[in-house]
């Protein structure tokens, strides 16, 4: 099979990340694991954004994925990381299959608000369910890997996150370069013309929504395994807002941007907390304004610019 440059890039990135894993300080590899989980959700947001749709409710699937992992461990004693993550994706996609029927007809701010409303309803439902710990949520039991229960769980989770997310990134990259992928860009530019070409916009959007939901669930599941805890705040609107934020931070031109931006965002937050415990929100706000002002197409435009210079 011929590997295109994008695929090769992700393969090399995966190799580098895996090789670097054991040498990273533990707190950093934890942040890397968590941000890979977030990045998957962000990748879903980017996917929708390329079709002109902004979801302010990806927290819904992030949360569903997390709770699926948590509940499967809690109630059915399922422990295998891959089974749990598969469950997370399945639950998210199943819910999306239903909601998507309605949402695929909406555009612009109404899509954004409607998705937000659904995720807030999940937040409300979980906050009322005392069996699931209400707003406190509950802890996720330790995962196993194909029957093996590692002592150094964090390292294994990191490796699994790297492999999984790079595989997903490669698949997404290929999808975006396919006919269906480009249909998304076309829809953003002009929906009516796409319809005239004989493509069902509704179906394209519906499918993209399902894929984004699956990514959201996978990311949520991964984050739940890494942090060891799930709670309704995963579905709160500020969580969803952060995903959109990170998507724009990275830029929508390349799927790799989602991963870089998500890692950077987590680092910025950690440093803001450490360096100015009293004004970290202000630091965050200023950094974000600066990026929007000086890098309108996101961080990826730096990479693109760098590549131009090298050429």
């Amino acid at each position: 099979m011929r590997t295109d440059p994008g695929t090769r890039g992700f393969l090399i990135a995966a190799a580098v990340l895996l090789a670097a894993g054991p040498f990273l300080p533990k707190w950093l590899s934890y942040i890397a694991t968590i941000s890979l989980g977030y990045a998957l959700v962000v990748a879903g947001v980017v996917l929708l954004m390329r079709a002109g749709l902004v979801s302010f409710g990806q927290g819904l699937y992030f949360c569903l994925g997390g709770y699926a992992v948590g509940a499967a461990g809690k109630y059915w004693n399922l422990g295998d990381a891959f089974v749990l993550l598969a469950a997370a994706v399945a639950v998210s996609v199943a819910v999306a299959a239903l909601l998507g029927l309605l949402l695929a007809r909406y555009r612009e701010i109404f899509f954004a608000m409607f998705t937000m409303a659904f995720s807030m309803i999940l937040y409300g439902l979980l906050s009322k369910s005392q069996a699931l710990g209400s707003t406190d949520g509950f802890n996720v039991s330790h995962a196993t890997f194909l029957g093996y229960a590692p002592v150094a769980l964090q390292g294994w989770l990191y490796a699994a996150a790297v492999v999984l997310s790079m595989a997903v990134a490669i698949a997404l990259q290929r999808y975006l370069r396919s006919g269906m992928g480009y249909a998304g860009d076309a829809i953003r530019e002009n929906e009516i013309r796409v319809e005239y070409l004989g493509i069902s916009v509704y179906r394209v959007v519906y499918l993209k929504y399902l894929v984004a939901a699956g990514l959201g669930g996978l990311g949520g599941g991964l984050a739940a395994l890494a942090s060891g805890h799930v709670g309704p705040d995963m579905a709160y609107w500020t969580t969803s807002g952060e995903f959109v934020f990170v998507a724009l931070l990275g830029g929508t031109q390349h799927i790799a941007a989602a991963f870089a931006a998500s890692f950077l965002f987590e680092l910025i937050k950690t440093y803001a907390f450490e360096l100015s415990p009293y004004t970290w929100q202000m630091m965050l706000g200023v950094v974000l304004l600066a990026i929007i002002l000086f890098l309108p197409s996101g961080l990826w435009s730096l990479v693109a610019r760098g590549r131009e210079a090298l050429r």
Binding site: M120, V244, G285
Partner: protein, 298 residues
């Protein structure tokens, strides 16, 4: 019987408050296409300014009745200053960006202002309850209502009438409507869109700050009150139809009554009744209740 009255009265009180918050939000969106998350900050700044101004005024031994004027002056000052800072300092640099990018810009402004508020007022709560208790209460069967709350209904009605009058019966208002309807065309016709933007944002800012200032005597003003308000206002505006003032009015009433009904009949669902209503309305009317049909541009 009492319950039904309570639902209507409580619902209308809540709706009045919501409307004053949402009116500024929807106006700014209508004219500038900015869904302004920092509207919550304006609300918070208004509340803090009013609370400290009233406390200062009363502790100086002035007549308590004057505190209502102080409240309004505080709202005006807070809204104008903060509004100008946000519009001239940040938004001006960002015009022309995508709607979603603008939401994020205002989110960043919200984050910054949260800490600015903390630096100015600290994290202690402020309360200026005197104007709330001064007006006394109205007995109705086993219930009592605060006259201040009832007066809030009148204030909201006045705001609604004033906005309707300005938009439909004055030259400047009609110019605003023109900009709302088609920004490019109105710019081509020679309307100074930049000026319209500044003025609109200031009006929106003062309305946001006024909502906060009017709430200051009712609640204890604490960090984060702006963030709590903003999602509610969003829901109202989306239900009513973005950019529509009538929509904001009807949206507030629907949300207010629905919430009051939940509190009285089924307190368990109060948490998500607003989002439930929002989903229902959007499912039936995809662009909200009072949205103009948008022309499809090919």
């Amino acid at each position: 019987m009492f319950t039904l009255t309570a639902i209507l009265v409580d619902g209308t009180i809540y709706a009045s408050w919501l409307f004053i918050v949402a009116a500024g939000l929807t106006l700014v969106y209508g004219v500038m296409r900015i869904l302004n998350l920092a509207h919550g900050s304006l609300y918070a700044v208004g509340a803090y300014t009013a609370a400290s101004a009233i406390t200062w005024y009363l502790s100086a031994g002035h007549a308590p009745a004057g505190s209502y004027l102080v409240l309004l002056a505080a709202a005006l000052a807070a809204g104008t200053v903060t509004g100008l800072l946000i519009e001239r300092g940040v938004l001006r640099l960002m015009y022309g960006r995508d709607e979603v990018v603008m939401i994020l810009v205002t989110y960043a402004v919200l984050l910054i202002l949260e800490d600015v508020i903390k630096l100015i007022w600290g994290v202690e709560s402020y309360s200026a309850y005197q104007p709330y208790q001064l007006l006394g209460r109205l007995q109705f069967g086993p219930m009592t209502f605060a006259n201040y709350d009832l007066a809030l209904i009148a204030v909201a009605a006045a705001v609604a009438i004033a906005m309707w009058w300005t938009l439909n019966r004055t030259r400047r208002g009609k110019l605003l409507l023109v900009v709302i309807h088609d920004r490019e065309m109105s710019a081509a016709l020679g309307i100074d869109v930049t000026r319209v933007f500044v003025v609109t944002f200031l009006i929106g800012g003062v309305l946001g700050a006024a909502a906060g200032a009017l709430t200051a005597p009712v609640v204890s003003v604490v960090p984060g009150i702006g963030v709590e308000v903003i999602v509610l206002a969003f829901a109202v505006v989306v239900i009513g139809g973005l950019g529509s003032v009538q929509g904001a009015l009807v949206g507030s009433l629907i949300v207010g009554i629905a919430r009051a009904a939940a509190v009285h009949l089924l307190p368990e669902v109060e948490l998500f009744v607003i989002y439930g209503v929002m989903c229902l309305v959007l499912a039936v009317r995809p662009a909200g209740l009072f949205a103009r049909p948008a022309a499809r541009k090919i």
